[in-house]
């Protein structure tokens, strides 16, 4: 077939001529099937709850028994010298649970230490030193420095991988059973006296993670909606020559594929020169370099200075969110010198804190391009939760808007490993601004060492799962 045969118009006409496909089910058959399925689903829900409350009551009773027996031992009811009361207890504590709390209060629990040895480097957040609330995850570079010293203060939730039961005894196992149904994720900011409880919750989270996330494992309580990873293409606001991004579903694309797709779709050159882009290769290492391989016959050397500038803007908007800091150009086996300056590499800034929807609805503008604040008063880059707070307002501009709609209030942000839980309440959550909010949050998270963001609406028992990184 001649390649010229498919003009846009012909293609559009052909699509319009696609045959209507009719449902072969009759109306009655369909109604019957719908009714049958609806009836079938309703009792199932009831049945699934019937075991829940008795199970909870049994677990609670068992917990009480387990808590009471050791106290009888300590108060002399079982006063034999062979009794199990620990020697260091002094016989003064009423409840033996203090024995478990003691190491936790010291924040130096053996279980935590053991687990840290096993899972060193898994904690990518930088928790506050008081252990009461974790702070936002740092950038990649900071992550590598975080491998030691965090030990005692670090968020216990990340560090416990199933060994607590050995250290904390049966009480915790029982509590775990009791709490699995109701403990919220990310609740690691309770006070230290509840560290054991947190350990339990961490156990349940670890188990749940095998089934993708906590809420799926507890889907009786939370409805979970999983969004797709996003990629961006970029386009220019003609009047101001400002580049913005248009989010799209990644559709299973790898980072490399996403880069090629984004650059070809966002091609800022007059002659569509990026069509000659054949491959993108991430070079790895700490410098986060990427090499763009072009066909040997390409026109990139003839870029005008304006095109060169636009190309740099596009590279910044489409690649920096993959933490790319240096872009190299190659054609065949050799360096490709582009534009009038004959450069073969472009440096990018990997610092961006937030995205804001354009008032025109065409896409989102990065905080870096918009000039919104990206650092705190001390000059440090904002962490993830500070960035979300920043995204609630804009500094007097009218061409873009706050990313957090008026109808949404962010109540809290917590972290579990590489997952951020954003707790919010919403007056209404199905409008377009909420969709844009989700896009802005997901793109913002790409600049942090986060794998997933979970938007949690506790009131509505709804969770939106935003996968952040591409494979």
């Amino acid at each position: 077939m001649n390649n010229d045969k498919w003009s846009e118009k012909e293609l559009e006409d052909t699509l319009r001529r696609m045959p209507p496909v009719k449902d072969k089910q009759t109306k009655d058959e369909l109604f019957h099937a719908v009714k049958q399925r609806a009836d079938k689903e309703a009792p199932q829900r009831k049945a699934s709850k019937t075991w829940f409350f008795p199970a909870m009551a049994s677990a609670a009773a068992l917990l009480l028994v387990v808590l009471m027996i050791p106290s009888f031992m300590n108060t002399g009811m079982f006063s034999s010298g062979d009794g199990p009361a620990p020697a260091d207890n002094g016989g003064t504590d009423t409840f033996d649970t203090a024995d478990n709390n003691e190491p936790a209060e010291e924040n130096n629990s053996p279980s935590v230490q053991n687990n840290e040895e096993n899972v060193e480097n898994t904690n990518t957040v930088s928790p506050d030193t008081d252990g009461s609330e974790s702070s936002g995850p740092e950038e990649e570079a900071a992550e590598n420095e975080n491998e030691s010293e965090n030990g005692n203060e670090s968020d216990s939730v990340n560090e416990n991988e199933g060994e607590n039961e050995n250290e904390n005894g049966n009480e915790n196992e029982t509590e775990n059973a009791d709490e699995n149904g109701s403990q919220s994720p990310g609740s690691n900011d309770v006070d230290d006296s509840e560290n054991n409880r947190n350990n339990d919750s961490a156990d349940s989270l670890e188990e749940a993670s095998e089934e993708d996330n906590y809420f799926e494992a507890n889907d009786e309580e939370y409805s979970v909606e999983e969004e797709e990873s996003l990629i961006v293409t970029s386009a220019m606001l003609e009047e101001d020559e400002i580049y913005y991004v248009i989010p799209e579903a990644a559709d299973g694309m790898s980072k490399e594929e996403a880069v090629v797709y984004a650059l070809q779709e966002s091609d800022p050159t007059s002659g569509s020169y990026f069509e000659a882009l054949e491959e993108a290769v991430f070079n790895g290492g700490s410098s986060n370099e990427i090499t763009l391989h072009f066909a040997e016959e390409n026109q990139l050397a003839s870029l005008s200075s304006a095109e060169h500038y636009f190309m740099e803007e596009v590279l910044q908007e489409t690649l920096a969110l993959y933490q790319v800091s240096e872009v190299n150009f190659e054609a065949g086996e050799e360096e490709l010198l582009i534009g009038q300056l004959g450069e073969s590499e472009v440096d990018l800034s990997t610092l961006n804190r937030g995205y804001y929807p354009l008032s025109s609805g065409e896409g989102l503008v990065s905080a870096g391009t918009a000039g919104e604040p990206m650092t705190s008063g001390t000059g440090d880059p904002l962490n993830f939760d500070e960035t979300l707070t920043q995204m609630e307002e804009v500094s007097g501009q009218d061409w873009y808007e706050p990313a957090v709609p008026d109808t949404v209030e962010i109540e809290d942000v917590r972290y579990e490993g590489k997952t951020a839980y954003v707790f919010y309440s919403a007056e209404e959550d199905s409008d377009e601004s909420f969709e844009t909010f989700k896009e802005a949050v997901q793109l913002t998270a790409k600049y942090f060492t986060l794998d997933t963001v979970q938007l949690v609406n506790e009131e509505e028992k709804e969770v939106t799962l935003l996968p952040v990184q591409l494979p």
Partner: protein, 182 residues
Amino acid sequence: MREEFERLYSAYHQQLFQYLFYLVRNRETAEELVQEVYIKVLHSYEAFEGKSSEKTWLYSIAKHAAIDWIRRQSRKKRKFEGKEYEWSEREFEIEDKQPLPDEIVARQDEIQHVYKTMKKCTKDQQQVIVLRYIQGLSIAESADILGWSESKVKTTQHRAIKALQKHLQTDGENVPGKEGSP
């Protein structure tokens, strides 16, 4: 319930079924999903606030049902193979196992070819192609259903046609001639 069902059925059913069919590209699955849509609609009809039209509300429920199904398929496949498959997983399943539906087989080669090639577009692009061209919905209606801005619908539509054109041209040599068509 019956009254409500009958009204929705006569007003929207065939359109809704066609939408689901072109998204999942399988008649049996579309039949199951359309039942699921009615169950959801009839359960939540009282909660419908009328912010959007009834039609776009139904379509958004259908869209979610189809996307959920596609994701479930991807997860099953991932668990089975231990690999990452997303949209593409569904593609080769269809390519390898699904015969062309009768309605498509009965049409000219060029329609068959475009139908087969559509699956090479991204999910967003396919959504827009189905809504805008096959279903003939307006930009505003499509935007409402997809939860996008109208600009995004326009941009995606433009890119979808470009992408489809490119895929057709790439595959062109292996396809029966379009010249014979009227």
